[in-house]
Amino acid sequence: MDEIRTQDIVNLEDTDADELKRFLAEQNISLKPNELVRIRELFGRDPTHVELHIFNIMWSEHCSYKSSRAVLKKYLPTTGPNVVLGPGEDAGVVRFCTWNGKDYCLVMAHESHNHPSQVLPVEGAATGIGGIVRDVYCMGADVIGVMDPLRFGDPEGRHTKRVRDIVRGVVDGIAQYGNALGVPNYGGDTYFDASYDDNCLVNVVALGIVAEEDVIRSRAPDAARSERYDIILVGKPTDASGFGGAAFASERLSGDEEKERQEAVQVPDPFLKRVLTEATKVVLAEAKTRGVSIGFKDLGAGGISCAVSEMAHAGGVGAELDLDCVVKSPDTLPPEIIACSETQERYALFVPSDFTPVVLKTYNDDFELPHIYSGAGAYVIGRVTRDMRFRLRHRSHLVCDAHVDVITTGIEYERESRARQPNLGASEKTPPVKPTVRKALLELLSSVNIADKSILFQHYDSEVQGRAVLRPGEADAAVAVFLPGHPVGIAAGIGGSSQVAAVDPYLGGLWAVCEAVRNVACVGGRVLAVTDCLNYGDPEQPEVFWEFSEGVRGIGDACRGLEISKSGKHGIPVISGNVSFYNQSEKGQPIAPTPIVAAAGRVDDVSICQNLGFKKPGSKLVLLGEFHDSMGGSEYARLFLGGVAQRPPVPDLKRESSIIRTLVAGLESRVILAAHDISHGGMLVTLAEMMLGSKPFGTGCTIDLKNTPMGEASRERALFTEFGGIVVEIDAKGWADFQTTLDQNNTPWHALGETTGDCSLSVRWNGGELDVSVEDLDTAYRSAGELNRLFA
């Protein structure tokens, strides 16, 4: 009875190579021959079907970080005085504020759902949100917001229709899930580039809040080593959806396969998640009241097997599960699917047996899961054992039996890395007709990467929970009240330019951090932690692996080098993140390297958070930062010069830190009335956006660059270079004092001009001038904005 049957075993040794290959392909198993050998060694025997499927997922790039782990470990700082939990758990946790004697933490998770969103945009994006919020919920936290950094193909390019369908589908999926779940969406960023034509990027960030004393670990509690503990599965009935999802995320996409791989995309259900979340709150509160220790983990990649074996392993216990006790749809599912499917909206709980009835009653009777959703509910599927073995039974037969150490054994590769020669110094193409500054500005404003994105954000509920202070599009970062009734706010911003990373992958990483931190600083936030999502091509290609390593090195250097805390002493910890490889075109061309960083900061008093618009006439306009004469990676270059592979400016981290500290201090003392960084489109676009942001009050500006370094460069460079400075509006009353502060801190700055009461943008430089009315800017940015056409 307690023996594995021969028919359940996969005979790895005696099967000939071709037949084995066929078998593995049939089963969608992507384990490599050397990995099969290793599995055999670990078990000391041939594995069962179920065991093979478990390893297929556990050793996928997505779960095992087999190519990336060493690099991440080498470069990223992950600790700091406020870090409660760094990478390794489902989400990172950092101390945020104290209120009424309680310490509250910010919980942050960041993932990609790129391949599923390419294949089935609505479901792929929705389950992206579904998965990332589970990572935060399972720490015992409440989710207070999500953001999505999105990268799509060229909507006017080779695959116009498909790209547009994906854009609409992804936005729809994000909206459907988050809106119904009741989690506000605070935006993120959205860019378009031909490099994503066959492989969009849908990254998702979730932010949560938890009292430090209420943080729950995804592990069997210590008490499980001496007391009787049950293992409960709660949520949606297990089905075949998402089977092999993690492995799918770790493969190359090819056009023919996309259809076949749709089954690997999970099916979202925010309704069930909402009810589950409400019921779970009651269960966790009850456990706390009774002083019961429980383990709680979401089911993501690898489903039941991964979640339960990892919890058991982390707690130093074993687990025995009866797959027949799992509620299934249909009931005939084979054991490997029951064990590994990635059906959404499920959690596993380890609870003392005498607490089990409370858990079952809460989910099944009080919240009526089986009644409101066919097949849903909480059921005991097994128990904790003390022999450290992970056993699965199906129809009374043992189908998996291994030490938990074996099941959770990692795998690691040392990938070859080879520098790609950057194509620097390529001559700029002279545009057939050089656009006038006016035409260039208006075309940039209406271009898809810059134009108003409110049509996109308005699909999302950014008001639910009532925390909003600055919503998507209102400023460079979103701000929400952390605890209702308390003036402290969380500011969250995104950074990541593939245009920079394509020219220099190291700078891409460095810039992503600087941009995210700068965005948060523009609303008065001091960054406490960042997360990263590293989107690259095939790590088995040495050039791609080099791009990846360089990106991580850049992120690490920036996080260590930026000293922006009040004391100015520590860098910024990376508390969670994700690596997404195998993002490439159908022809095997890797996407432009895309490291994306999310930064979360603290604003002590959110009353200082204003939108990016000019506030009143007669204020000083000042550029914080130094001008760099480089068109590398700019939108202007993309639109008018056929792209320029010029090295983008290298940020000086000491200076950058000083700018950020001065900026935040200026906002806190309310001498800075508005701040907006110079990014996509350059300084003129920044000024135009600040002017448009002053609506409905209507404030313009007059700018004179003649006595600045910008006045010396050729005009496009000055006006459209994306050098990363920050334009600030300074209250005229406080200008004299602030000037002293700038000089004392050695913060580089240049006076630009002042705000005016008439609604136009007037700029003068050596050899030219420009006057544009707010109406013309508004038409370009809003009604003629190319994004609108994608949704019409």
Binding site: A175, F271, D366, F367, V464, G466, V469, S607, Q610, N611
Partner: protein, 276 residues
């Protein structure tokens, strides 16, 4: 101050998601509020001072928004309380439920005279989240008394909304005529200068006659699509709404962040109405 038993009951149908901020908004004016699950015993409503159906996606919007919850057993008790004059407010999905249950406009007892149809917007469709302006309609109700005598911003307030089906419609001539002659019209979408909003974006969903909220003949039931609980504190007001509220927000300090926002009036009016 309020009625003897005192609690405002916020009903949590499966899938609603605004219950907590709704409770906070009620508490912000000194009312006592409590969440009751859909399967709570009917007695919990017996002594309710008032009832609020919060926003969200009750029963997943299966069939259409609000219709399943409208047939939930607890709604019998809600309607019974409404018939006794207990104040009942449905916000967003709660409004959809009240409409589907025939609680408003109540021209004919028990009849479902209105529907909330998918938004009708130029060049876009689906869910729409934004801020609009609201003014009081001709029909009075307990929740809208705060509008009386309001001078600022031409008698309008800024308020957020977020929905895919918020367009009040009817197929009945009788109902259309009554609405046209202002019976039951409690709230209207407005322009910044105080006129009734006729077209997008001031009228955000194409609602007939610009209607944003409907009351019953007794004036104790209100179904409104915008979310007053998301405009209950000053920090929630975005600058782009302009007018008095944007100015007040701009000069806010830490201590004024949680002073009343433009939507607080709905809850304040309820408190005053209950105290009378």
């Amino acid at each position: 101050m309020t009625t003897q038993n005192g609690h405002v009951i916020v009903i949590q149908f499966p899938g609603v998601n605004c219950e907590y901020e709704t409770v906070r908004a009620l508490e912000s004016v000194g009312l006592r509020a409590r969440i009751a699950r859909w399967n709570a015993r009917p007695e919990v409503l017996r002594d309710a001072a008032a009832i609020v159906l919060p926003g969200g996606f009750s029963y997943q919007d299966r069939i259409r928004a609000g219709v399943v919850a409208a047939k939930d057993q607890i709604m019998d008790s809600v309607l019974e309380a409404a018939s006794r004059g207990v104040p009942v407010m449905g916000i967003c999905n709660g409004a959809q439920i009240l409409v589907e249950a025939g609680a408003v406009p109540g021209y004919q007892t028990g009849a479902i005279d209105l529907a909330l149809a998918p938004n009708d917007m130029p060049d876009r469709s689906g869910y729409y989240c934004t801020w609009v302006r609201l003014k009081k309609g001709p029909a009075s109700c307990i929740f809208t008394a705060f509008f009386d005598g309001m001078q600022d911003d031409a008698g309008t307030i800024p308020i957020p909304l977020a929905h895919a089906e918020g367009r009040f419609v009817t197929a009945s001539h009788m109902v259309s005529e009554k609405l046209g002659s202002n019976e039951g019209v409690a709230l209207l979408y407005a322009t910044t200068d105080g006129r009734t909003a006729e077209s997008f974006p001031d009228n955000p969903n194409g609602s007939v006659f610009g209607i944003a909220g409907v009351t019953n003949p007794g004036g104790n039931v209100l179904a409104l699509m915008p979310h007053p609980e998301r405009a209950t504190w000053l920090h929630q007001v975005p600058r782009r709404v302009g007018g008095r509220w944007a100015k007040t927000r701009e000069s806010a300090r830490a201590e004024s962040l949680f002073t009343p926002g433009p939507g607080r009036g709905f809850f304040e009016s309820l408190r005053k109405g209950l105290a009378q």
